[in-house]
Every structure is written in C-alpha cells, then in structure tokens.
Symmetry: C2
Subunit: 453 residues, 2 copies
C-alpha cells in the first residue's frame, strides 16, 4: 500500500488526509498537540474563519461540503459601524452570494472526525516533528509527553504544520538556496467574545460581518451559533494615537471602547473585564521557496502564511489540496513531477494571496468608511449587475471564483484604476442619478475603453 | 571582573574580542571550528577581502592597523579586461587612495593571535553554540568532537557567528515579532587560483583589482603576496546563455574560458583542470530585526550578511565594532541602553550596505564596460578633482570615508541623477574637450543646481 505522512492535523492537514485516504494511501498524521476534541472548545474561544468559494470547492471535491455547511453561518455583506453610531451595509457580491463564518475549532474537529472514519488514516497526537529526511521520506518525531523518539518512513511527506512549521524550520530552512522571510506587520490583535443576550438571541444582526473601521485600527465581529460574536481588535502595538501598549489598565480599555466604539460599548459595557481572557498576538507574512524538496512538500500556512484580512488563509490552504490532487492525477502520482508542477504553479498564487491580504487591511480598517471608496464600490456593483458575465469585482474574483489569485490581483488593480478614471472623467458623484450612471456604464462598455475580463 | 561571551572567532568576533579585552572585560570566545591556524592555509585557498577606510579606522582604534597593513596589498583601481583583449583602467579615488587586498585566512589568524595575547581573552575551539538564554546571558555549547554539553554565563553575549549564525537561528528567530529574511540571488560563485609565474612574479598587474565584465556574469582577480591571484567567477546557476549548470564537463569549462575570457585563458590554459578544486557556492542577503534582545547582540554577518560586490562585508562588520564601542562608552556600559542605540542607529546602515552591494554587482559585471557609465565616471572624477572638498563620488563615500552607508546611498543616487542630467543637458560626449567640461562644471557649481554635499 502507498504510504503518506502528514505533519500537523490542522485544517489543511486533516483535509489533505481525507484526499489521500480516498486515493488509496495509508495516511499517518502526526500532530504535536493533544487531541483538541477531548477538550471542550467554546465557539468564541477560537478565531472565526470565513469559508468562501475555493474552500467549498475543495471540500465538495471529496464530498464533505454539506457536512461543513451544517456548522457555517452565511455573511452576505459588511455592516459598517461608524463613529456616530450610524450603520452602512455593503453586500459582498450579488444576491445569494455569501462568505460563511465557521469556528476554527469546530471545523477542525469535524475534519479530523471525517479523516479518522477512513480505515487507512491514523492521527497520532502528541507527536512533535523534530526533523525530516527529504531524500528518504523519513520523519523524526518526539513524543511531547514521554520524550520518546521515533521515526516514520513513507513514500511522501507533507508539512501542514502551520506558519511556524517545524518541518520547514528544521529541514527546508537549512537547505542551500532556500529563500525565506518572516515579516511582522506593526499591528497585533486581541480577541473579545461578545456574548449572546440572556435569551440566547444575537446582540448584533447575525448574517453579516461587522466592522468598526477607524483608519489605523479596526474592530470586527463574526457570528457564532450560540448567539455570541467572536470579535477581534486589530491595532498597532505602539507608536500611534491608539495602540495596544497604551491600553495598560482596565480604565484605559474602558475609556478607549467608550470613545471609539460607542455602539459596541453600549452592547458590552463590561468589555474591560474580559480584556485579558485572550492574549495579544502578532501577525506575520511568511514567504519561502522552494516549497518542495525530495519527498517533502509544504502546504497551507507552512508554505504561505498570511495576515487574515481577506479571509483567504484557510481557503488558499484548501485550494492547495485541490490543486495538488489534480496534479497528482495529471502526473500519475509521479511525485517528483507533481511537486515541481505544484510549486511552480502555486507559489505566485501564495505571494498574491499575501499581497491581497495586506491590501484588504487598508480597505477594511480605512477605505470602507471613505466616501470615494463607497462611490467606487457603488459604480462597480452597478457594472457587475449590468454585465454580470463580463465584469467581476476584485472581491468576487477572490471570494466567489477559483480564478488564480495572481490573476485576480492584477485584474482587480487594473479595474480599480479604470473605474476611478471613469468616475473622475464623467464627474460622477453620490448624487448622480442611477439612470445617468447606467447610461455612462453602457457607453464605457460599448466604447473603446478596454475593461479587462 | 566584567565578563563577555563572543560566539564565533571570525573576523568580527576576533576584533571585537580585542576591543572588549582592552576595555577590561574577561572575554570568552567560543568557536565551532577547530583552530584554523593549526592547518596550513594557502593564500589562494580563501576568498580575498578588500579592506577600505572603515576597516582601517576600526583596526587603528585599537592600535593594530599597522600589523594588518603588513599583509595587505593596495589596489588603486579597477583594470577592465574587455572581450577583445583590450584593457581599461578606472582609478577608485584620487591619487594615493586605494583599497587593500588581504587574505581572509591571514587576517583572521592575525586577529586571533592579537586577541590571545591579552591575558583576559580566551578562544575556545570546537565549541558549537546550541542556544542562548537572552535573559540570563547564558550560552549553551556542545563540543563538536566529544559531544560534551556545557554552558557559560556572562554579563553580555555577542553573536559574531556569521551569515548562518547559530545564535540567531536558535534564539532570536524564535522570538515573537522577529523579522527575518534570507534571499539568495540567482547567481553563484566559484574560485580559481591563478598561480604565479615559475619565477614567483605576477601574471597580471599587481596593485589593481582585475575585472572581466561580461554583462550577466563576471570574473574578478585579487592579488596575493606569493604572486598568485585569487580569482572568482560570478554567474547565474541556470536559465541564462552562460550559467554554472551548463558547465558540466572539463571541455565545457575549457571552451567557456577560451571564448569569454580569452586573455585569462591565455594565462591559464589549464583552468579546466582546477575547476573542481573549489566548490560552487551560493550568495544571500540576510536581513533581520531586532539585532539585540536581553543580553544578546548580533554583529557583522550575523546581523546583516550581504553579497560581496562592494567589498564592504568585513568593513561594515569592523565598523559595527567602532560604533558599538563608542556607544558603550557614551552609555557608560549600560548594555540595555547601548543595545537599543546600537540597533536603531546601525540597522539602516546594514540595510544600505546590502542595497549598495546589490547595486554594485550591476556596476561591476556590466556598467564598467558601458560607454555611458565611463563618461559619467569621467565627468564625476573631474568634478571631484575640481571640488575635492565639495563633491564625493558614491564609491569614495563608501570606501574612503565613514559617512553612514544610508547617507552615502541616498546622496550617491541623487548625485548620479544630477550628473546624468548634466551630461545630457550639455550634450557632453567622450569627444568634448576637458577645458569645455571644466567650464560647464564650474557653471554647474556656481549656478542654481543643487549638488548634495
């Protein structure tokens, strides 16, 4: 029987185990942590994720999308909370399109359950990867509780052990000519759980992603099934008018929320009490190349960890599975060919999803509340309504299609410039009647201006 | 007695040991390799270095410049070897200015000798750094021959263990928010020793740096005391008309040299025979930040390893010693203050020396043989002759002054643009008489054009 090793039973590792098991591999998964399913994980204790098209596609390909849909809450757009307590709503796509809030803990547990249902898959917990012998496909392990050392040899090894991948660090990074960078952004994040009302109902509208954009920082909230919201505050560590280092006391936190997030503070006046329930964490972009060597391949965050601002980390990792699986079939499981094709086709998309994520941070924390951006969005939405098969906004290309990330990035930026020029040249404002905008749009599409599509 | 640990007895570690010993520290140096002085190192077996102003300044500050001058050969300029066997000469600076060829092995051995003369300095060989405890100043070591583990505690710890610093890798890189990148350039290098004539005389002019610029690749040669030259071929690994991967057989190497370096081939027709005496090596730029944490500081290549094309790697590392020493005195040996000041003032210069090095690769392998560059150089040299106290070319600011690298980089690039504009605006060519150029230069300096100085 063909044998595969997977290092890490996180989201990508568990899904990839399901793919390989279906393809007839004996799959041994080694996970450093203990079995998270044996600990009670409250939904709000874990970052929420937004599953979008690429994620669903990869799940559906192995027939498990519907299982996951049971634990997912659709979010059809963004609800912007302004400083003056007014709200604004921006749909993500056309009617029916949504991204889906899922709890990291729940989806991971479900994926592990499904993987373990296969007779030819075993998840070994408390097994830390110490090193990988690329050439011979041997993974060296240490039991985190007993300290016992062991090794496991297989035909092929996949490192899905996250941003701080032990396999990458202990093996790949010592390779000659391995390019690598870890760059922290100046902002950190802290989670806050906004509890449900006493009767279990939601304190904010449910099927939407809430954002409090404040220029250099922002708060977001994603819904959980139990009526609570998982909220995250993103803000610089230091050196700005508002930064984590200045929120030292309970009273600092209290005044901060009261001043900059008044409607949120009204819903959760006890926010300062739960400030320390979650740690302050940092955010990094990690790039490297090559992604494969000998019998080892990096996937997911181990290959291309990103900041979370486009909600594409998990989706991109799941797409790694789709792509690698189709290459595995195309190259008849000749892994050395598969690996070459995988890293060459996929690396530019890993880079692009990172660029998109950084770019979308500016959009979320600042631009969404900017009048020019809102006008641009309105015009763009109208174009895609009038020409639904000819024009796709950047957000849609990334979240509602499987167009390569690098193509979406290039095309999206080109489109943004064209729309901005179009608005300026035709002196369109928020007051311009829709009928007039429609006429101009038709002129644009019938005229000589080239809209990339 | 105040105690200091230095990890690595390379160039920077040995010099820094001398500084600290003079300042009254008990200095323990731990070196992974065995004592290089016990092995016979032929001059040609080790990359040659070019000591310039900053290096001499740091050596003179501890009174050892003259000792090192004894093993240094001045190089007053570049001798360009064209494909048609013609030569061109470009002086590095004004008369009397030179950079100095030294053998890495010889200067390192000399620095270790001087360090060990101090009673309060000990170099411990075959001691590999396994980890550093920042907070307590403890260095964990493993004897490379016996495997014996030990630890050494001191007031302060300096990692001077090179581009692939074990201290950085095992300690700093695991810090939260430690930014790090290692980027390999697509080119590698291989050394070739051009031996002396039978009578011990030099086969090429001695007091100059020889370059065979060929656009995408180049050969260089630096003189040794025994009449030989240490030559280095820099070239892409793959994917170009000429690349290392295409030179597989002895006959490939032979035809390559005959075709692209005809005059060199004439001097060394046996070049293909010694092709494999030195390995093919890669080249990386390594950036990181912070450079200090707790009681540990990174210096030299451990902090800012660069590609070698400006000949500033050692000079910059030696300047780290000057700078750190003056901060140590200014802050009265309050190391936590010293470290903060050191990394804040020095990091932008580490970045700049890397940018300068990459930039100078283009100059050396391509521009030096370009007519526009030569004209630009001629005009610039004339300006600095006419206004020796007002105008300094980039090469002089980097090699013959201790102006901060970041200032030199900015100013140099500004100046280059001004000179290029000046040449274009006044339609200066190689044929323009010097008297006419002088008149235009006087006009430039008296006029409104602002030359940065």
């Amino acid at each position: 029987m063909k044998q595969a090793t997977i290092i890490g039973s996180g989201l990508v590792g568990s899904l990839w185990a399901i793919y390989l098991a279906k393809a007839g591999y004996q799959v041994e998964v080694f996970e450093k942590r203990s079995d998270m399913r044996l600990t009670k994980i409250s939904a709000g204790k874990s970052i929420n994720l937004a599953t979008s098209y690429r994620g669903w596609k990869a799940l559906d390909e192995v027939g498990i999308g519907d299982e996951i849909r049971k634990i997912a809450i659709p979010m059809h757009g963004r609800t912007i909370h302004n400083l003056d307590n007014t709200l604004a709503y921006q749909p993500y796509g056309s009617s029916g399109q949504a991204i889906y809030s899922v709890s990291r803990g729940e989806i991971n547990a479900k994926l592990m359950d499904i993987a373990e249902e296969k007779l030819n898959t075993k998840i070994n917990f408390n097994q830390e990867c110490v090193n990988v012998d690329f050439d011979n496909g041997v993974t060296y392990l240490r039991h985190t509780q007993t300290g016992e050392l062991s090794e496991y040899k297989s035909d092929v090894v996949f490192a899905t052990d996250g941003a701080f991948s032990a396999a990458r660090y202990s093996a790949m990074q010592k390779l000659d000519r391995f390019s690598y960078s870890q760059n922290y952004i100046p902002d950190g994040y802290r989670e806050i759980l906004l509890p449900a009302n006493a009767d279990g109902s939601y304190k904010l509208e449910k099927e939407t992603l809430h954002i409090w954009p404040r220029g250099r920082f922002m708060l977001i909230a994603l819904p959980n099934f139990d009526g609570s919201f998982t909220c995250t505050l993103f803000m610089p560590f230091e050196g700005h008018d508002f930064c984590f280092n200045d929120l030292k006391t309970k009273s600092d936190v209290d005044s901060f929320f009261r001043m900059v997030f008044p409607d949120f503070y009204h819903l959760m006046p006890e926010v300062a009490d739960s400030w320390n329930s979650h740690p302050l964490s940092s955010l990094a972009i990690i790039r490297c190349f090559p992604w494969t060597h000998g019998k080892l391949a990096l996937m997911g965050d181990a290959a291309h960890a990103t900041v979370p601002f486009f909600g594409q980390g998990m989706n991109c990792g799941f797409e790694d599975c789709s792509v690698l699986f189709s290459l595995m079939k195309a190259h008849n499981e000749n892994w050395s060919e598969v690996f070459k094709a995988y890293e060459i086709s996929r690396k530019p998309n890993g880079d692009a999803v990172q660029d998109l994520s950084l770019q979308n941070y500016l959009v979320m924390r600042d631009k969404v509340s900017d009048a020019n951006y809102q006008l641009q969005q309105k015009v763009e939405r109208r174009i895609s309504e009038l020409f639904p098969n000819k024009y796709f906004p950047l957000y849609s290309m990334v979240s509602f299609s499987d167009m390569e990330y690098k193509v979406a990035l290039e095309k999206g930026n080109e489109q943004n410039e064209i729309i901005a020029d179009f608005i300026k040249a035709n002196e369109i404002t928020q007051e311009t009647p829709l009928s007039q905008i429609d006429k101009l749009i038709h002129h644009l599409f019938d005229g000589s201006t080239k809209i990339p599509n």
